[in-house]
Amino acid sequence: MTAFLAILSLAGIGLILGIGLGIAAKKFGVAVDRHEEEVMQVLPGTNCGACGFPGCQAYAAAVVSGKAPVNACIAGGNEVNMKLAEVMGAELEESVPQVAVVCCRGGKNKVEEKFIYQGINNCLAASLLQGGGKRCPYGCLGFGSCVDACPFGALKMDENCLPVVDEDACTGCGLCVKVCPGNIIQLIPRETKAYVACVSKDRGKDVREICNVGCFGCGICAKVAPQAITMDGNLPHIHSDNMEKIAKAVEKCPAKVLIVRENVSSSS
């Protein structure tokens, strides 16, 4: 009898609570857009923030409500974007995968400091004081703000305080580009075979005085490979993937600022 009473009362409580929960679920339920869930499933879920929204869920909500484009997930790359477009019924052209490259070789062993900096270890903060401590006003300040910003662990600082990109881990999200107060880190299409590792706009004489690995705008590369490289002010601009021509220019470059990316397959 006692056992029966216990079972009955428990069942009763269960029933009442169950009905209560059922009503509450109906009454206070938050309607989740079916689309939003679908979008969430497609997204990588790393919450990197490269899209500009605080995490994947917020981006998914923005996509569904039409406040964000379907191709903003940089970490997910082309694959995710295409899937997203499919879910949302949008049309999308295939995007070119990008990779970050470091466009400065003037580490602390190459370019002197113009003063002893005693402030906070952050590139933007350091750049606010007299344009940063490096004698080259364009060069990498070397506090590693880009490393801190990378959600994928694709960046690290080398022994000369220059960032190094792990190209396999880099998703081309561009967060490092955004935190860099200079223009040191740039995104280039993954297939690019060569790039210029200097961003100094100064005259050659001034560059040479402070840095022996900076481009001093001699223009030899543009002369050697006129169809592939042109001079844009004091800096060369590569606009061809013709390796034969570029290789000649790389060989002739006195400052060795033209960097050939080695593991790019020639077929791609």
Binding site: G52, P69, K114, F115, Q118, A125, L128, L129, Q130
Partner: protein
């Protein structure tokens, strides 16, 4: 009664090094470097080219932007270069280099009296004379005296609250008449008849001289303020004298006030009555590492090196050189950096005077809250910035901070509060400019 504002700090004054020395004039420099951007606002574009001969006082650069001021040749000679050069505030800036040949002036055309001029004409004279606030920030004066709001009070800022600096003090003692004339000109341009001359109570002689010079002016009153940093800040002056509070994000005209520095007033008098553009200013060269500290009248664009040599050089090698006052000034990296319109002082330190700062964690003592003249919570702001909580920063009034440095001065943990705040402001501005989604990204 001695008036003041809530908060603030009492750093050692060190003004006796130069306060009782008359202003000396630096011999004309051989070379000047005149930066094209010397003030808040758009930088000027050069109106001369390399090889041109210029006369002293000739306009060599100007901009069409409303918030801007032209620059003038500070010596006569030949323009030898227009190139990047060290700049005391931004580090590097395009400058016009003039090599001196003789001392030939442009013809100066002054007005015998300012009363015959309309406010618009005065604004135009002040603008074309290239006058900017000489206290430090360098806001173009012509813009300041063209307010959109109704102004009822003018305050002449002679507080000079930064340690070491005594340039304005000497000017008030030696050129009281001109300063008061300049003040009357500015009041005439603004159409106000109530003016205060604000002086800290550590400068009794300046007060006497200014009272004497303004005794025939019923609308002008000298007010004594407590010696406290940052008494010379506009908003703090207005609070102390008129007990009015400039609203958050607002400017003095919002409460019907315009504040101008004493040296700026003198420059305006020179511009209107003598037709002289702003090509020189008084600079205090002081600090424990200067052989003979002095107040020097120098031409704009003179390299710091010339000034230090004029003071007999330094006792030891220079470890730190600050342009401006020691609290709000900027540390320099080159002796070739030129004096600009806003350079009120050069403070030179040796290695003994520069302590090794080791910042540590906040100990929650609240000293920074006590001293903040803006009534902010500096320590909290710094923590929000360290934690990158930008929304909290904006809610807590980050943009109201004027970076006076009282908090960092008083902080027993030696936190780099001001640098963090400057960084936070820059970061928020960068995010605003590039947008949360990054450059070139639009919400479609």
């Amino acid at each position: 009664m001695i008036k003041t504002f809530p908060g603030g700090i009492h750093p050692p004054q060190y003004k006796s090094l130069t306060a009782e020395k008359s202003v000396e004039t630096l011999p004309l420099p051989q070379k000047v470097f005149i930066p094209l951007g010397q003030y808040t606002g758009a930088a000027a574009t050069p109106t001369v080219s390399v090889g041109d001969k210029v006369k002293t006082g000739e306009k060599i650069g100007e901009s069409n932007a409303f918030v801007s001021a032209p620059v003038h040749a500070a010596i006569s000679g030949k323009v030898t270069a227009i190139s990047m050069h060290p700049h005391p505030v931004v580090g590097r800036e395009e400058a016009i280099v003039i090599e001196r040949e003789g001392d030939e002036w442009v013809e100066l055309r002054g007005h015998s009296s300012y009363e015959i001029l309309t406010p618009g004409e005065i604004r135009e004279i002040v603008r074309s004379a290239g006058i900017v606030g000489l206290g430090g920030a360098g806001f173009p004066t012509a813009v300041k005296i063209s307010p959109q709001k109704q102004i009822d009070t003018f305050i002449l800022n002679g507080a000079e609250c930064e340690p070491y600096i005594s340039a304005d003090y000497r000017l008030m003692v030696e050129n009281a008449e001109e300063i008061v004339t300049g003040m009357k000109i500015l009041m005439h341009a603004l159409g106000v008849n109530k003016g205060y001359i604000a002086i800290e109570d550590n400068k009794p002689q300046a007060m006497r001289e200014m009272e004497k010079a303004s005794s025939s002016e019923p609308g002008i009153k000298v007010v004594l303020l407590r010696t406290k940093y940052p008494q010379g800040s506009e908003k703090q002056l207005i609070k102390a004298i008129l007990n009015r509070e400039v609203p958050s994000g607002g400017l003095p005209p919002d409460v019907g006030v315009v504040v101008n520095n004493a040296a700026t007033a003198k420059a305006c008098a020179d511009a209107v009555l003598l037709g002289k553009p702003l090509i020189e200013r008084v600079v205090t060269v002081a600090g424990p590492n200067v052989v003979e500290p002095k107040n020097i009248r120098v031409r704009i664009g003179t390299p710091f090196k010339d000034l230090i040599e004029f003071c007999g050089g330094t006792v030891e090698t220079i470890t730190k050189l600050v342009a401006g006052g020691p609290l709000m000034g900027v540390a320099q990296y080159s002796l070739q950096t030129p004096v600009i319109k806003g350079t009120c002082g050069i403070i030179v330190f040796s290695s003994k005077d520069v302590p090794d700062f080791r910042p540590s964690e906040c100990i929650r003592c609240g000293f920074c809250v006590d001293v903040c003249p803006m009534g902010l919570l500096p320590g909290e702001l710094a923590t929000y910035i360290e934690k990158e909580q930008w929304d909290e920063c904006e809610k807590s009034g980050l943009s109201d901070c004027m970076e006076c440095g009282s908090c960092a001065y008083i902080c027993p943990a030696k936190r780099q509060i001001v640098q963090l705040i400057k960084y936070g402001k820059a970061k928020i501005a960068a995010v605003g400019k590039k947008g949360l989604l990054g450059e070139g990204f639009s919400l479609t």
